[in-house]
């Protein structure tokens, strides 16, 4: 994208090149080559390649070869561990159990309201909706449901492995 695009000047003033490459690369929804990430991060291509290489070494990104072109994408394990760390830093074991119950209750509410077992089943039902507005509403709920189920999986992981994950954490001040 052109560097004159709205907000890019302020972005460059307020952040380092590494920050911008990191923020673009960790938010990617598909593997992308260095020139694309460089353009989106408003940095030179060589700068992007250097920072992307460091992020691969730090296990923040994965690099794959696509017919001679290196593609970069977020390492899903790093993303998951970052969320786990945040949950463990802000919740006790009991609070995680409460959070799990809240997430399960929300999912059960959607299951009952839409008579669907999963977000995918709810999306299927959007095909039978009578108006575009209803279709949009169903797809929006399915998106929220899928995201909630993803979060529930990480919360369950945090609870199941709480003792292991917190054994090396420093005590709270």
């Amino acid at each position: 994208m052109a560097s004159e695009s709205p907000g890019v000047t302020a972005w460059k003033e307020q952040t380092s090149a590494f920050d911008r490459v990191h923020s673009i690369a960790t938010g990617l929804d598909r593997p992308r080559p260095a020139p694309y990430i460089a353009s989106e991060a408003a940095v030179a291509e060589n700068t992007a390649r250097n920072h992307l290489g460091r992020l691969v070494e730090m296990n923040v990104l994965l690099a794959t070869d696509d017919n001679g072109t290196t593609l970069y994408e977020p390492d899903p394990l790093h993303t998951r561990l970052r969320t786990l760390r945040s949950l463990l830093a802000s919740h006790s074991h009991d609070e995680l159990l409460d959070l799990k119950a809240d997430l399960q209750a929300q999912i059960e509410t959607w299951q009952a309201e839409y008579d669907a077992a999963t977000p995918a089943a709810l999306r299927q039902s959007a095909a039978d909706s009578e108006t575009p507005a209803e279709t949009r509403a169903i797809r929006s709920t399915a998106n929220e449901w899928a995201l909630t189920a993803y979060r529930l999986g990480i919360v369950a992981d945090a609870i199941e492995n709480y003792a292991t994950y917190t054994s090396d954490l420093p005590a709270s001040a």
Binding site: P6, G7, I24, A146, T148
Partner: protein
């Protein structure tokens, strides 16, 4: 990711993380929090009222971002500003009001809710959109 099936929920989660980080680095953002508290599918950024000339009390920017249902599909996005006097936002989602997904909408009683106009995002990478929207926000609140 590599070799794995595309998971739109995981992609949405990553986008929200990138947005939260970008918001936390923007000088006009005071704090961010997830909303609703448990499911955390949205981000609410509390904004510095003094950073915008025309902002009223309690300005916030509420962000929703759902990655496409398939890797080839486009995301559903909204960055919506509100304060005690008004609300408006930049959205990228199917809608019956303008051609295409990108639009700007502003609360307008005479238009029976909102008035809409097309808007073309310069980028659809989450962190870039944060800085683009905050730039447009400053222009709207001059």
């Amino acid at each position: 990711m590599a070799g794995d099936e595309y998971d739109p929920a995981a992609a949405s989660h990553r986008a929200l993380q990138a947005i939260e980080t970008a918001l936390s680095r923007h000088p006009s953002v005071v704090a961010t929090e997830r909303f609703p508290e448990a499911v955390s599918t949205q981000i609410v950024a509390r904004l510095d009222v003094d950073a915008f000339t025309a902002a009223s009390g309690d300005p916030t920017l509420t962000v929703r971002w759902f990655a496409g249902e398939t890797q080839a599909a486009e995301p559903t996005v909204s960055f919506h500003y509100s304060d005690r006097a008004t609300d408006f936002g930049w959205h990228y989602e199917p809608n019956p009001h303008v051609d295409g997904r990108g639009h700007f909408q502003r609360a307008d009683e005479s238009a029976d809710g909102y008035a809409y106009q097309p808007y073309s995002f310069a980028s659809l990478e989450p962190a870039r959109v944060v800085w683009e929207v905050c730039s447009q926000l400053a222009a709207e609140l001059e």
